[in-house]
């Protein structure tokens, strides 16, 4: 049976508002390991206050954790070896405590030629770039046996976005390498690049999908761009849109090795009025999984 997950955000108010939902609804928790760290002036990573808080939640609930990183920059051609080793050493220590079921990060590069951009930048899709990402996944796999890459949102592409599924298939071809399929990312990219999201999904190696992400987003302000164009944003700040629920219903039966469906919500975007809505979204996800018998 596929499990239901919820992403834990490093913000006290969000955690306070969602305290009951977090304890009652999901089967597992997802965390970005980097949000549980602070870095000292020498560049070494140490647990921060949220590390202790989430460890206490793990002990209290007995529910498992998965790691969804934001800092490995899998598409960077020559990553800083010292920094990557320090990150992996910290994830190793976290894994000893949280026993992550699997460990994923994003497609793209957040570090470009020494610049830290935070937002993943699109890769030039080639066999060589796929090998660079595979190599990064292999280093993660030295820590957690099951690793994966998530299809990111890119607001521009170096190539045809509908070639990305084949590129991802090349990346996750090795045993232990999986795909984290973010359906809101597919939908957002499809809206912005004007293609049918289902065409993208059905081109993916769905047998490699270990986890599905659900989230919502919003639209950019027309004043932001000189063209006044409105683009859909991967902002995780609203309810899951109907189009994403429909994608979930169609996708679930096609993923034989799926282990989890995770609902994500950005910190700082949850009000009291959102709490019952988020609970209902988790319940809807579970009902959808049960109907699909996954």
């Amino acid at each position: 049976m596929t499990a239901l997950g919820f992403s834990l955000q490093p913000e006290e108010r969000t955690l306070e508002l969602l305290a009951a939902v977090i304890r009652e609804e999901p089967d597992y928790y997802e965390v970005a390991p980097e949000t549980l760290w602070r870095r000292d002036r020498a560049g070494r990573f140490h647990p921060n206050g949220f590390h202790e808080l989430f460890a206490a939640l793990a002990a209290e609930t007995g529910k498992p954790f998965v790691a969804h990183g934001v800092g490995m920059s899998l598409g960077t051609v020559h990553p800083d070896a010292t920094d990557r080793a320090r990150r992996l050493a910290r994830v190793t220590a976290d894994h000893a405590l949280f026993q992550f079921l699997w460990y994923t990060d994003h497609l793209g590069a957040t570090t470009l030629d020494g610049l830290e951009l935070t937002l993943p930048m699109p890769p030039f899709m080639s066999r060589e770039t796929a090998a660079i990402v595979r190599s990064g996944l292999a280093t993660m796999r030295a820590v957690v046996p099951d690793v994966g890459v998530e299809n990111s949102v890119f607001y521009f592409h170096l190539g045809d976005p509908l070639d990305e599924p084949a590129f991802l298939a090349d990346i996750v071809r090795d045993p232990g390498h999986h795909l984290l399929l973010d359906l809101h990312n597919v939908y957002t990219t499809a809206v912005n690049a004007d293609f049918d999201p289902w065409v993208y999904v059905e081109r993916l190696p769905l047998e490699k999908v270990i986890e599905i992400h659900l989230s919502g987003g919003s639209e950019s302000d027309p004043k932001w761009l000189p063209s006044k164009r409105v683009m859909r944003l991967d902002s995780h700040d609203h309810s899951v849109p109907d189009e994403v629920w429909m994608l979930l219903e169609r996708t679930l039966p096609l993923c034989p090795n799926l282990r989890g469906v995770t609902l994500e919500r950005m910190e700082g975007t949850v009000t009291e009025a959102d709490v019952p809505l988020l609970r209902e979204e988790l319940r809807r996800a579970r009902r959808t999984m049960e109907l699909a018998r996954v």
């Binding site: 870095r39 610049l115 080639s126 060589e128």
Partner: protein, 117 residues
């Protein structure tokens, strides 16, 4: 070939630090020392998407700074327009090399100290 991947990485990095990222990518698309598939890909990027990407990276840096420097956050609260002007100068002067808020805060405070000297 990782040389090609490295060059693409440098092209993107320079473009995202440029005043006009779209023009920077369009200029790179005419660089005949880059392989044709790369030039084609660069020539076909969505200009709005490039601008949106550049905008979001700056916004993420701003948010990182607000979390990483109490003095910056206080300055923004007290005088948003003066702070915004200073942040624009900071963004132009200092390459983004911080991933953690505290690192961004240290970079900004060092830049302020230098500017006020």
């Amino acid at each position: 070939m990782s040389d090609v991947a490295s060059r693409v990485e440098r092209v993107l990095a320079r473009a995202l630090r440029a005043t006009d990222p779209v023009a920077a990518l369009q200029s790179a698309a005419t660089d005949e020392t880059l392989p044709e598939p790369v030039r084609k890909a660069l020539a076909r990027v969505d200009p709005d998407g490039v601008r949106m990407t550049a905008l979001i990276t700056v916004r993420l840096r701003f948010e990182r700074l607000m979390q990483g420097s109490r003095s910056a956050a206080q300055w923004f609260e007290d005088d948003p327009s003066a702070f915004t002007a200073a942040f624009k100068r900071y963004q132009a002067d200092v390459a983004p090399t911080a991933t953690f808020p505290s690192d961004e805060g240290r970079l900004f405070e060092a830049w302020c100290a230098e500017e006020n000297r």
